[in-house]
């Protein structure tokens, strides 16, 4: 039976890595906003981090099975919230992504949906475990479960966030026991499905973003501009970097939004290859630590939840850093633990809180 969980089992090592990365993040946000009108964003980020830490500790005391039990209700609520965003959301920069709540809080449901989806998918596939493989029906149901919020978010339109739901589904299918044959069929089907999606679903600016990363110089004034400036910033850093607050691309406002989506470019310019490689190493250590926690989880849903978090994190890292160094199109996905932004910080720390609870519950039973 369950014992009281204690801080002896709290993952201080993981928290240490995370906090180290957060400090790097705050310093880089300070540097990147030094000469802009966003000059106090580093302090705001610290408040978000503080809030995130508190949420993480609170969540680490809530049994994750409780979350699994309310997952369906939460899922339903999320769908309603996404529909509400489309209906009454604030229109910012051509997309409806926010709901303005009383008290001046801007609520962006699509970030929370990620967390709920991780839990819901974990619950769904853990229920199917032990039946000897997934049927096509199981697969389509899971696809519908993830696909519905994905379409709603795409409608906002927010391609970046919508894409982050995909690794949750893929991770669930992989760990939930999809057979290799079905996986191959699915991959082929997806390849064929891309053609109508490209022509019907994607907006012209989204298509342009995707194509322009391949040849950033063909349109240096349009979508290629961001990639071009980002590449220059990263390359300008060299091995050792230009030094904090000394990157000309970052400080001269050539780099677009250097405190959120392109923070890694700003960081790479000012701290060079050595600094960038150290940050990637930190990510590696964090992810390995998370997988270790997944392995040691007490039950299958615990493992699936932690691996869902891992999948989302590695996907975001790959897409964001890949974009910054010109290997991926511009999709507007923030870099977890580095980019400025309350929703992103809260998602990461809430997810870590759940992971902490899973880890602390590993000897329970």
């Amino acid at each position: 039976m369950r014992k009281l969980i204690s801080f002896r089992d709290f993952d201080w090592v993981l928290l240490g890595f995370v906090l180290l990365l957060s400090v790097v993040s705050v310093l880089e946000i300070y540097s990147a906003t030094l000469h802009t009108k966003f000059v106090h964003f580093d302090q705001k980020q610290m408040f978000w981090l503080l809030g995130g830490l508190v949420c993480m500790f609170i969540l680490s005391f809530i049994n994750y099975h409780l979350l699994l039990d309310i997952a369906l209700w939460a899922y339903g609520f999320c769908i309603l919230a996404l529909v509400a965003v489309l209906a009454v959301g604030q229109k910012v920069l051509g997309g409806r992504r926010w709901i303005r709540l009383p008290g001046g809080i801007h609520f962006q449901p699509s970030e929370w949906v990620k967390l709920v989806l991780i839990i819901a998918v974990a619950r769904y596939f853990s229920h199917l475990a032990g039946r000897g493989g997934l049927t096509w029906s199981d697969i389509f149901k899971s696809m519908a479960m993830v696909g519905l919020p994905m379409l709603l978010v795409l409608k906002q339109p927010d391609l970046g966030t919508a894409l982050t739901y995909a690794p949750i589904l893929l991770c669930g299918l992989f760990l939930g026991g999809i057979s290799i044959r079905k996986a191959v069929i699915l991959v082929l089907a997806a390849g064929i499905a891309i053609i109508p999606i490209w022509h019907k679903v994607l907006k012209p600016y989204q298509k342009q973003r995707i194509t322009s990363f391949l040849q950033p110089d063909t349109d240096p004034r349009g979508s290629g501009y961001q990639i071009r400036q980002s590449l220059i910033a990263v390359g300008d850093g060299g091995i050792w970097g230009r030094g904090a607050t000394k990157g000309t691309q970052t400080q001269g406002d050539f780099l677009p939004i250097p405190y959120t989506d392109f923070i890694f470019a700003a960081y790479s310019e000012e701290h060079g290859f050595v600094g960038a490689a150290l940050v990637l190493l930190l990510y590696f250590l964090i992810l390995m630590r998370l997988i270790q926690n997944a392995q040691s989880a007490a039950d299958l849903p615990g493992t699936l939840i932690v691996m869902g978090v891992v999948a989302v994190l590695i996907f975001q890292i790959a897409v964001n850093v890949g974009m910054v160094i010109g290997l991926m199109p511009v999709t507007g996905i923030p870099l977890p633990l580095m980019s400025y932004g309350g929703s992103s910080v809260l998602f990461t720390f809430l997810a870590l809180g759940i992971v902490m609870n899973i880890r602390m519950s590993r000897f329970v039973n």
């Binding site: 099975h65 699994l68 390359g235 850093g237 960038a276 990637l280 590696f284 992810l287 392995q295 493992t303």
Partner: protein, 701 residues
């Protein structure tokens, strides 16, 4: 366990988690290799790109050199001005911004669009000049909209300020944007598109001296073009100022003399070839070019049938008419034909089966017995028909070429034309036709295919009056040109240059004396006589086209003739020579009066400088039968005959030392101590009384 469906015992196989681990490692390795490619292998390249991103070279335009007259009086100045540029690269939504830009700069959107189209092939980072000479409120608009319209930039420069009303416009020329054809020319390799360059006159010819070396400021900017700091400054070198040979006083007199008449005036100092004044009409205002000229105005200028942009002093090639007789007279005398040639003018003569009229026949008169002197001052056509027949076209052409007709003078102004000196060889070469003997007769009075420019005529006749010493006319003192460029200018303006045509002493005296008599009552330009000033010259009235051709072209009236006059003062070794071309001025003596105004301005100035006031009118010789202001009756042949004797008195005897020296003879008031006193600047006084009664007042040539 509340949920029975939970399969706590199920575990994810370790192998699947290991797959995740490898996958993550693979992703991170790919990312790190991407970083390596950019930051280690491409560092230099991207460092340069980052540098180019943030450092902008802002040109500091060098002011052009100012232009002064020979006495250092300012003719062309500069004034500070601001030009607005558009940098397409810096625009966010250029097309959307256009209405705002247009309203702020008081332009049409269409106008901006066409400017952008014009520059559509230039790189995006290159600033496009949008509007020159913007007003303070337009400047304030640009400054106030720095955030909304980051694409607008301004640049300070010095603009040209020319004299108003087209004063000396053809001589000075104007500046304009360098054209694409010019950029292909190695002479203009120095320039970038959009640079301002001299396009005409002195501005073009002396552009290498007048232009300076632009400097630049390397400024650090952010992505909005906002200045963050200055890296370094390259100081511009201003252009060198230039001193022209033009004398503003003479230029002003010439401008005033020509007034609104179409034509040209050019005055030179025959001793050096320095151009003292140069006027062409109709004129234009070069200030219109200093700011970008509007297309309509430009079209108006270039389509004007009067060709206001043409500098007629060096670009009008017209039949010289009777002024050519001076050259022919020298040829006739030098060939030994004219001395003994006496012709009886009956108002015309038959040559080669065709009757050639003398101009005087229009007045139902004739010149009667005529020698070379009378032939010149009465401009008897029959005399010169006969002389031309005896000389033959080859000799005429040879002498005309000696005096520079049919070739450029080499004046240091762009686009001088060479004129035409016809000859059988020339006709065969250009028209593949044989020369008709009758054509020689026409050429004898400066008609037919012969064409000369005012600068050619003034140089030729001034050269004859200077005993055959022809100078290359120029508008800039040679020592103003740096030694390194002198050869360049020699090659740039080829022409017959400085040369001396030997003329025998007696012939020189004969021709110059006859030219002097042109301004006597007996001469064709008696009206232009200046009291107390030794002026010699030759009138000419040249048909612009033959009357037969005019009728064929449907002109109701016969065309008025072009009125020429070439005058020198004093008659031998002159200090000033003036050529007047008054298009459709009808009569040469009318032009002579314009020349007299210019010469008078020069003489007055010289006297003023020497503090030698003009002698009062009473001092004039008793018996001088007219005052300058009273209209003299048109000389009839009979009266001319009579007044010739008086003219002989009026002019110094040909063998008197004063007349031979030609100049520097003037009445000297006895000095208090009884010694003669030589006054500087008083050398134009050559009244009959002076010449005959003051034998010691002679200076040697």
């Amino acid at each position: 366990m509340t949920n029975p469906a939970r399969h706590s015992e199920e575990k994810v196989p370790a192998i699947k988690l290991a797959v995740f681990q490898y996958l993550i490692a693979l992703v991170l390795v790919i990312l790190i290799s991407g970083l390596w490619r950019l930051q280690v292998l491409g560092a230099q390249n991207y460092r340069a790109l980052a540098q180019a991103n943030r450092v902008r070279k802002v040109p500091i335009l060098a002011p052009r050199g100012k232009i002064y007259d020979r006495e250092g009086r300012l003719i062309v100045d500069n004034y500070p001005s601001v030009t607005c540029f558009l940098v397409p690269e810096q625009a966010r939504y250029l097309q959307a911004d256009l209405p705002l830009i247009a309203s702020g700069l008081h332009m049409d959107v269409e106008q901006i669009q066409s400017t952008l189209r014009h520059y559509r092939h230039t790189p995006n980072y290159q600033p496009i000049p949008l509007k020159s000479d913007i007003t303070p409120d337009e400047l304030a608009f640009i400054a106030a909209h720095g955030n909304e319209l980051p694409e607008l930039e301004t640049i300070d420069e010095q603009r040209r300020l020319y004299p108003s009303n087209g004063f000396a416009a053809h001589l000075i020329g104007y500046v304009g944007e360098v054209s694409e054809e010019m950029l292909d020319d190695p002479r203009y390799a120095f320039y970038q598109p959009g640079d301002v360059v001299g396009r005409s006159g002195v501005e073009e010819a002396y552009d290498p001296i007048l232009r300076g070396q632009d400097g630049s400021r390397d400024i650090v900017v952010d992505s909005h073009g906002r200045e963050l700091g200055v890296l370094g400054t390259e100081v511009p070198t201003p252009g060198t100022s230039l001193k022209l040979t033009i004398d503003l006083d003479i230029q002003e007199a010439a401008e005033k003399a020509l007034g609104q008449r179409n034509g040209a005036i050019v005055a030179i100092d025959p001793r050096t070839g320095e151009v003292l004044a140069m006027v062409s009409r109709p004129t234009f205002d070069p200030n219109d070019f200093a700011i970008r000229i509007h297309r309509d105005e430009w079209n108006k200028l270039i389509n004007d049938p009067e060709h206001p942009l043409l500098n007629k002093a060096i670009q009008a090639q017209l039949a010289p008419g009777s002024t050519f007789k001076i050259i022919e007279a020298v040829a006739g005398l030098q060939e030994g034909i004219a001395q003994n040639l006496i012709v009886d003018c009956h108002g015309g003569e038959n040559f080669y089966g065709r009757f050639f009229k003398c101009w005087i026949s229009a007045r139902h008169q004739s010149h009667g017995i005529t020698n070379i002197t009378k032939g010149i001052f009465q401009s008897c056509d029959v005399y010169f028909y006969t002389l031309a027949e005896k000389l033959g076209i080859d000799k005429i052409a040879e002498w005309a070429h000696k005096f520079g007709l049919g070739e450029k003078t080499g004046i240091d102004l762009p686009d001088e034309v060479a004129g035409i000196m016809p000859s059988p060889e020339w006709k065969m070469r250009n028209y593949h036709q044989k020369w008709f003997a009758g054509e020689t007769i026409s050429v004898g009075i400066g008609q037919g295919a012969i064409a000369a420019t005012p600068i050619q005529l003034v140089r030729a006749i001034a050269g004859i009056a200077s005993d055959g010493a022809l100078k290359r006319p120029h508008v800039v003192f040679p020592d103003e040109v740096p030694a390194s460029l002198r050869e360049y200018y020699q090659e740039q303006f080829p022409g017959s240059g400085n040369k001396t045509v030997p003329i025998s002493y007696a012939n020189w005296v004969t021709v110059t004396d006859a030219m002097s008599q042109v301004l006597s009552f007996a001469g064709t330009a008696g009206f232009a006589h200046l009291n107390g000033v030794d002026v010699a010259g030759k009138t000419g009235s040249a048909q612009t086209m033959s009357n037969a051709l005019a009728q064929k072209l449907g002109h109701a009236h016969t065309m008025d003739d072009n009125a020429w006059f070439v005058g020198v003062s004093p008659r031998r070794n002159p200090e000033i020579a003036v050529c007047i071309l008054w298009e459709k001025g009808a009569e040469g003596y009318l032009s002579a009066r314009l020349a007299a105004q210019v010469i008078e301005a020069y003489v007055d100035k010289q006297r003023r400088l020497g503090n030698n006031l003009r002698p009062p009118v009473q001092k004039r010789a008793v018996g001088t039968p007219h005052t300058p202001n009273a209209p003299a009756p048109r000389t009839t042949a009979a009266r001319a005959q009579k007044t010739m004797e008086m003219a002989g008195v009026w002019n110094a005897p040909a063998d008197s030392p004063a007349a031979i020296a030609g100049q520097r003879a003037f009445p000297l008031p006895p000095a208090p101590d009884g010694q003669p006193q030589v006054l500087r600047g008083a050398r134009f006084l050559l009244t009959p009384s002076a010449a005959s009664t003051t034998p010691h007042a002679v200076q040697q040539r």
